[in-house]
């Protein structure tokens, strides 16, 4: 029904069209093949992203309608295919008296950094494809209203997202998830062989559970994982929504903004029950007298805390360089801890970027970020009390813009690991281009081999994916 009313609204609005509608579609298929196949990684995977959009300007505003879809095929221990369709950016933007209003399924951008932004908080991130994804698919639109008031140079903007979503992350079963393909099944399979007072009693049921899991369709496994991720999420009454205010000013050669928001965390505090954790940690089944306690305990609890945040951003130029900066403070930022635990503590983030362009055919940007926990947590997982990162992107255009050399790199100085994504792209026509590239990961700590090692992993996020080096081929067709 939502689609129907949205379409009807657009149709009626078209009666006052000030220009013909712009209609477009972009399809981006990609196939990636692992360079170093392993049991815990898919041998190959493909992604196909589709973006269809239409927009039209009216006398006092514009409507826009978008559909996003993606198809992911993964081939490893089994072959999975996942199809997902969602509303793209859709809604209406225009004048409301002397103010401006945007309503609909929106992407609203805060922050000035691209690779390492800490301020880009209004939309959930879509990280399912890991480094195979692109910047256009990295943000997911959500229902939102944005009201803006002010002058040409000073503005105040208030946003309200009634139904916030968590980041789109696959926790289980993908090359880019914490629990890699086969880890869960492997652990449950091994449980029937664990020592412990209850081993005689539990061996047979655990073996049955393992067998049942083995027979479970990948889609059913994903459904369980998704359900677990949604546990504890507040009801969507609207009063649990995200609210934000941004005040921005622009002057000759500089623009700056400060913002404040009250947000639901994009990642939950997920905790494994203490007794379940002991089983995994010690690789030992509980005593018979502990079984009742184990049975009464929720295996996993999930909580979605709220946090205040305040931030500032700035962009300017200095000689031949563009300068961008941002800083953010969180009252209650969620940090993961080892053994499937998490806690929320006050934190800060600071980022700086410098970019350089020459002749329109060379572009390079370097970004740096420092994230700091104001109250360090015990056993941080994939993070540290202080994390320093560097990111860079570069593009060289050759042969009359027919050939592009692209590169992106991310260095985590705190963990000593880094990744790069070089790509050669041939622009055949305005509508069609194709690229050949690689995702190269350099680990300081070997990636985990099993569930226990994954949940207690002490390395960084790049190292965790360290065995996923791949080469990829992609197409981009637009019309």
């Amino acid at each position: 029904m939502r689609w129907f009313w949205l379409s009807m609204g657009c149709f009626l609005a078209a009666a006052n069209a000030a220009s013909p509608p712009e209609v477009g579609v972009v399809i981006t298929p990609l196939i990636a093949v692992d360079i170093q196949p392993s049991d815990q990684a898919d041998a190959w995977e493909s992604w196909t992203w589709l973006r269809a959009s239409a927009k039209q300007r009216m006398d006092r505003g514009r409507w826009f309608l978008g559909i996003n879809a993606d198809h992911n095929v993964r081939s490893g221990q089994d072959i999975e295919a996942i199809w997902r369709v969602s509303a793209g950016e859709s809604g209406w933007a225009g004048q409301a008296g002397k103010t401006h209003l945007r309503v609909g399924n929106l992407i609203e951008r805060w922050g000035k950094l691209d690779l390492l932004s800490s301020l880009d908080v209004l939309n959930p991130k879509d990280l399912r494809a890991g480094p195979l994804g692109n910047i256009e698919t990295a943000r997911a639109p959500i229902p939102m209203a944005v009201w803006q008031v002010g002058t040409d140079t000073i503005r105040a903007e208030f946003s309200y997202a009634p139904f916030p979503e968590g980041d789109h992350i696959q926790m289980v079963g993908s090359d880019w998830s914490v629990v890699k393909p086969g880890m869960m099944e492997g652990f449950i399979g091994s449980m029937s062989k664990l020592d412990g007072p209850a081993s005689t009693l539990l061996a047979a049921p655990i073996a049955q559970l393992s067998e049942a899991l083995g027979k479970l369709d990948p889609s059913a496994q994903r459904a369980f994982a998704d359900a677990a991720k949604q546990m504890g999420a507040p009801e969507q009454f609207g009063i649990n929504g995200n609210v934000g205010a941004r005040f921005e000013a622009e002057a000759q050669g500089v623009d700056a903004a400060v913002m404040v928001a009250n947000l639901r965390s994009p990642i939950p505090i997920t905790r494994l029950g203490p007794n379940y954790r002991l089983v995994i940690q010690n690789k030992r089944l509980p005593g018979l007298d502990q079984l009742a306690t184990l049975g009464a305990e929720a295996p996993i609890t999930t909580d979605w805390p709220r946090s205040w945040m305040a931030g500032t951003e700035l962009s300017s130029v200095a000689g031949p360089f563009g300068l961008r900066a941002e800083a953010v403070w969180w009252s209650n930022k969620v940090h993961a801890q080892r053994w499937l635990d998490a806690t929320a503590v006050p934190s800060t983030g600071t980022g700086l970027a410098i970019d350089y362009t020459q002749s329109g055919r060379f572009y390079m940007a370097i970004e740096g970020r420092w994230e700091h926990m104001l109250s360090p947590v015990d056993g941080p997982f994939l993070t540290k009390a202080d994390v320093f990162e560097l990111g860079t992107t570069a593009r060289i255009s050759l042969a009359n813009d027919r050939l592009e050399l692209l590169a992106a790199a991310l260095v985590n100085l705190s963990f000593g690991d880094w990744m790069s994504r070089p790509e050669v792209r041939w622009v055949a026509t305005d509508s069609l281009s194709m690229g050949l590239g690689a995702v190269l990961l350099f680990s300081s700590t070997p990636p985990p081999a099993d569930l226990s090692a994954a949940l207690s992993y002490g390395g960084g996020p790049i190292s965790m994916m360290g065995d996923n080096d791949a080469i990829f081929f992609n197409l981009r067709w637009s019309q």
Partner: protein, 252 residues
């Protein structure tokens, strides 16, 4: 410079006569004066022609307005799909180099174009961002090279910040509109050639509707065709906020 005026909206009053002004500075000053308009909206088709003749098409809307005596330009691309939504504003700054801000829809943010980047190609074309610079560089000097019954030929030596070493303009005496502009690099090698192939008249003003810029080194060219235009609009038609970052972000 002539090219800058041409790309902004390039208008000349047909009523302006060829006067006895065989002085380059006077000709340029008159040309700038008669070509100046208060506001315009143009729909433009840009065709990029490669060395082997392959053609790539771009469509964009250009809005220009004089605000407090200074030029402001807004450009928004609508085709092809891959660049649709890309926007650019160019703001003339008194006594300073122009300010250029680009909005890239994929990034959902604005990017300030700094220093040498202004000399780069505009959206892959043979025009550079610098060509959209409206400033009449006070350091530029003009020399009248020749004159006949219909045209003046003027050499302009731009200021040190320009990527051009010399610009030769052939200016029509009838309307003060340049019909041909040759761009030379610092070593005085011919770099680019602009020709105006078609014009249209509206409300006593002349608008170049078909221009071609050739890159003589690369063998490429860019055609600009103005398909629709509105000139000297009421002030409210193009509000000043069109030339702000806030506008770019709202329309991304």
């Amino acid at each position: 410079m002539m090219i800058r005026l041409l790309l902004s909206v390039c208008l000349a009053l047909t009523a302006s006569p060829a006067q006895a002004e065989d002085n380059a500075d006077t000709i340029i000053a008159t040309a700038q004066k008669v070509q100046r308009i208060e506001s315009a909206i143009q729909q433009i088709e840009m065709v990029l022609v490669s060395k082997n003749g392959a053609r790539r098409h771009r469509s964009f809307e250009m809005k220009t307005k004089r605000i407090d005596g200074l030029n402001a330009t807004y450009v928004r691309f609508s085709k092809p799909t891959d660049v649709a939504g890309t926007q650019l504003i160019v703001l003339e700054r008194s006594g300073k180099s122009d300010e250029q801000i680009l909005y890239l829809p994929a990034l959902k943010r604005t990017n300030r174009i700094a220093g040498r980047a202004k000399k780069g190609a505009f959206m892959g074309s043979d025009f550079s961002y610098e060509d959209f610079d409206f400033s009449d560089d006070p350091k530029a000097t003009h020399t009248l090279i020749s004159s006949n019954d219909t045209t003046w030929v003027i050499d302009t030596k731009p200021g040190p910040e320009s990527s051009y070493g010399r610009i030769r303009s052939t200016v029509s005496k009838s309307d003060h509109l340049p019909r041909q502009v040759e761009f030379f690099d610092a070593k005085d090698h011919a770099k680019k050639l602009l020709t105006i192939q078609q014009t249209a008249t509206q409300n006593g003003a002349v608008l170049p509707t078909h221009s071609v810029m050739k890159n003589l080194n690369r063998g490429t060219s860019t055609e600009l065709k103005v398909t629709e235009w509105q000139l000297n609009l009421p002030p409210d038609e193009i509000p000043n906020e069109t030339f702000t970052i806030g506008f770019l972000e709202r329309n991304g």
